[in-house]
């Protein structure tokens, strides 16, 4: 297995790639003449498709949340519960962890064990801090009698936000496993492919969080006259 980094000239998927010469055989992009796409592309593409399906789970939960938003059953409303300061801090933590995750992929590209581990450790710590804040928020809601059993609205809130939290937690487990693999096995091709999937996963969680931040927390704390 070659560990050589693909360059723009040899990688048909690289931005700015041109065929080697006029009339040269088309590269294997999996689209037509070239035959099956290379493994890295297949793995990344397949994981993208998986992520799309994951996004649809969240879409179902978002739809449910919006249907049940006003079904508070006389209990606390979003306006009374949400604390934007906490959410802002969570957002900063998660977005920063995405940045460090990006640094980790650069470090992997450079085959630097030290910087890979450092960047991944930062990602993990930031993710864990995010989860801690979320758990604290959930605990405070429950302590105030606003647990998921209180109303349909709260059921949907805990499920939507909790599902994202569960994804981040699973991501932390995956991240730890990746760190151990890089440490024990080095930058083997299949492990780098797996890491590509991890970064996609982590970035996707960020996108979901941006949607949660805007549609749940920001919309939820709008003054009532702005809500439909």
């Amino acid at each position: 297995m070659s560990t050589e980094v693909l360059r723009a000239s040899t990688d048909p998927y690289h931005l700015g790639h041109r065929p080697a010469a006029a009339g040269a055989p088309p590269p294997a992009t999996g689209h037509a003449a070239g035959g099956p796409a290379p493994k890295r592309i297949v793995v990344g593409y397949g994981f993208w498709i998986f992520l799309l399906s994951d996004v649809i789970i969240f879409a179902s939960l978002f739809a449910t949340y919006s249907v049940l938003f006003k079904a508070t059953a006389g209990g606390p409303t979003a306006q009374q519960l949400y604390d934007l300061d906490n959410t802002a801090l969570e957002t900063v933590l998660l977005l920063t962890s995405t940045f460090t995750c990006g640094l980790a992929s650069i470090a992997v590209g450079q085959r630097s064990q030290k910087w890979t581990q450092i960047a991944l450790l930062c990602t993990g710590v930031l993710g864990a801090a995010f989860i801690t804040l979320e758990v604290r928020e959930f605990a405070s809601f429950i302590a105030r009698g606003a647990g998921p059993s209180r109303s349909a609205f709260l059921s949907s809130f805990f499920t939507l936000v909790g599902c994202h939290g569960a994804h981040v937690t699973a991501g932390l487990l995956w991240l730890g496993t990746m760190m151990a693999q890089f440490y024990a096995k080095g930058f083997r091709t299949d492990i780098r492919h797996r890491f590509l999937c991890f970064t996609l996963f982590w970035h996707a969680l960020d996108i979901i969080w941006v949607a949660i931040f805007s549609l749940v927390y920001l919309v939820g704390t709008l003054p009532p006259e702005f809500l439909p």
Binding site: A32, A33, F50, I56, T64, A71, P148, A152
Partner: protein
């Protein structure tokens, strides 16, 4: 409590029918396992099948699973028909609680564990061969998918003896399925079985979208892909887009039941109609997930046995993809009676009628493919023609039901039940049977007995109509579905006729079993030597039967829509092979892996523990599954290399057989 809710009371000692039949099944399964071990077949099974990541082996195992479960689901059907024949002015022989479990189990099994695995099994076996490649995109994941499906099967059947199955029908509508009204473990069995097998199905969808879009033989453009690959792509896209909704919906129901959430309860603001909307946003695409690959099979079969290229290939592709999209815009027709108002109902009614248009296009395409062709009436062709005639009527009754005003009368009646059986049996079941007879020689190297195959077809198609035409009539006369007993004399004769129909179908299944047994016994005389028993047109027939593990010694070059037909015609004209022997190279194939099987073991433990609230075991099962994946990720040698000499030996044998056929032709 160490064992959660599990006590001796879970075993239904007071209900002899499920207990005896369940115990009999387990004794039979155990006997087979003992026989396998005693005869020393276990190492072979383990090495060649259980740990196999070869798409062909996995496809065959899917089909086998589906066939066994077809018999299981069909026994439910016989029991229901017998109940309806006996329960006129009487209680019948099945108590209501048991009858409710039977119709729930029948629907669940037939959709999730017969139709789905059969369709996915054929996709597994055929798609990589038709695309001219060596395997699917993620072979080990494919094995995990299969074994997770098997876990669902195991859990559903376990409920026969340990506990109970759901009594809510094949879709667990709340509030009935909520803890308050269904406190038993039946709904939990249903939900966890479907959740676990659903993950497997989703992974299959991801796998096949990637395979079809990224792994194709050189030169195979989208407009050169065989029709079955197109329909498999549409079906996989639908799986990726629809199954997550099912997962999310059942997760919400489980949260309601386990943690006192209020998504669908009738207190604290829960909204049970939201369940109907969510479940059918999955459920309607699901029927197209099943039927589109069947349409693909008919396309291959009709074209082959008419001796012509498929008529209107491009319109067929467009129709398939149109159905793929429109199928997401019709879900509300499953509950027009919700009362969403005339505007909403009209929109969904019109959308439901529109989806009949591309389906009509397909029917015409198949008819025009046959027109002017030299049609060979083999049994797979008979299944296809039987489909066209019967499915047309099922489709038309569907258009009737798409009219909201008519639907208010027919909602939840036997007319509806007859309609969906009329689409699923002639549509999907006939399709997989056609595919089974058609691709069997490719999988096993010998052709199935045609005479018994035709018997099976006629018994099935006659039995189907005798069983389900009465449903239309009884439904129009006001009979609602899922009745345990009734006292309307107008329905009684129809129920008797229907029971007769199911017996004719039973004879059809008997003919199929006989066909398999006879064919295996006489296989020496039925060998498919050339690998092309039907004079076929697509790439799966370009390799030997059964294909070597790597499928193709060298990936074929594709230059038109029917690459194999083209090569074959040139060879026939020249009366010798026209493709020169390639330079053989060593081939890398993925190594076998027990990951799928071991994951399934842990998934079974986790599922069972969740159903019975045995929390420590849940944790143990999850840790086990995680460790399995880490062990898999840690292995150093993922691929096996088949040396060039071995490739050459296998390919030369196939080339020699084909050259021999051409020499025969020359003489």
């Amino acid at each position: 409590m160490v064992l959660g809710k599990l006590t001796w009371e879970a075993i239904p000692f007071d209900e002899p029918i499920p207990l005896i039949s369940g115990v009999a099944v387990y004794v039979a399964v155990l006997a087979v396992l003992v026989w396998v071990v005693v005869k020393g077949y276990w190492p072979y099974l383990w090495r060649e099948w259980i740990t196999s990541v070869d798409h062909k082996r996995i496809g065959i195992m899917y089909c086998l699973l589906a066939a066994v479960m077809l018999v299981r689901g069909f026994i439910d059907a016989i029991m229901m028909r017998a109940q309806h024949a006996l329960a006129f002015h009487a209680a019948g022989y099945l108590p209501a609680s048991h009858f409710d479990q039977i119709f729930s189990a029948h629907g669940t099994i037939m959709i999730f564990f017969v139709a789905m695995p059969f369709v996915i099994g054929l996709m597994n076996f055929v798609v990589p061969l038709q695309l001219g490649v060596r395997d699917v995109a993620f072979p080990t994941l494919n094995s995990v998918s299969f074994w997770l499906t098997a876990v669902g099967v195991l859990l559903v059947n376990l409920s026969l003896v340990v506990g109970e199955f759901t009594r809510t029908g094949w879709l667990p509508y709340p509030p009935l399925s909520e803890l308050r009204y269904s406190p038993g473990v039946g709904v939990d069995y249903y939900c966890w079985a479907i959740q676990i097998s659903g993950i497997g199905t989703l992974m299959t969808g991801v796998n096949f979208v990637t395979t079809i879009l990224k792994l194709r033989a050189p030169g195979m453009n989208y407009t050169r892909m065989p029709m079955f690959c197109w329909t498999a792509l549409a079906s996989s896209l639908l799986i990726v887009a629809a199954f997550p909704i099912l997962t999310a919906t059942l997760a919400m129901l489980l949260l309601d039941r386990y943690l006192d959430f209020h998504f669908f309860t009738d207190v604290a603001g829960g909204n049970s109609m939201m369940f109907m909307n969510l479940i059918w946003a999955w459920g309607h695409p699901e029927v197209y997930i099943l039927v589109l690959p069947a349409f693909g099979i008919y396309s291959e079969v009709v074209s082959t046995f008419s001796g012509k290229p498929l008529f209107g290939y491009r319109s067929m592709v467009i129709a398939t993809m149109a159905i793929c999209i429109i199928s997401f815009t019709v879900w509300l027709h499953h509950f027009f009676t919700m009362g969403a108002g005339p505007e909403v109902n009209a929109v969904f009614g019109i959308a439901s009628m529109i989806i009949a248009v591309p389906t009509g296009v397909k029917i015409f395409n198949w008819m025009f493919t046959m027109y002017g062709g030299r049609v060979r009436f083999t049994s797979s062709m008979l299944w296809s023609i039987g489909f066209m005639v019967s499915f047309l009527i099922g489709g038309l009754t569907g258009v009737l039901l798409a009219v909201p005003t008519a639907d208010f009368q027919l909602h939840n009646s036997e007319f509806l039940v007859a309609h969906f059986h009329n689409t699923i049996i002639p549509g999907v079941v006939f399709g997989v049977f056609a595919g089974y007879v058609y691709w069997f020689p490719k999988a096993f190297g010998f052709v199935l007995d045609e005479r018994l195959g035709k018997w099976a077809f006629w018994l099935w198609v006659v039995g189907f109509w005798v069983a389900w035409a009465p449903g239309y009539v009884a439904g129009l006369e006001g009979m609602t579905r899922r009745l345990q007993h009734y006292d309307n004399p107008a329905w009684y004769p129809w129920m008797l006729l229907s029971a007769l129909g199911v017996l004719i179908i039973l004879a059809g299944i008997g003919a199929q079993i006989a066909q398999l047994v006879v064919s295996i016994r006489t296989r020496a005389a039925r060998r498919d030597v050339t690998g092309d028993p039907w004079d076929d047109r697509s790439l799966e027939w370009a390799t030997s039967s059964p294909p070597p593990v790597f499928n193709f010694a060298r990936l074929p070059d594709v230059s038109d829509q029917e690459p194999y037909w083209d090569i074959k015609q040139r060879a026939r004209e020249a009366m010798q092979l026209v493709t020169p022997e390639p330079e053989y190279e060593p081939i890398e194939i993925p190594r076998n892996s027990p990951t799928g099987f071991v994951t399934a073991l842990f998934a079974t433990v986790t599922g069972f523990a969740l159903i019975w609230h045995i929390w420590w075991l849940v944790v143990l099962g999850l840790i086990g599954a995680y460790v399995t994946f880490v062990v898999f990720a840690w292995r150093d040698h993922t691929e096996l290399v088949i040396p060039a000499e071995e490739v050459a030996r296998m390919d030369r044998a196939n080339r020699e057989a084909r050259a021999g056929y051409l020499r025969e032709l020359a003489r």
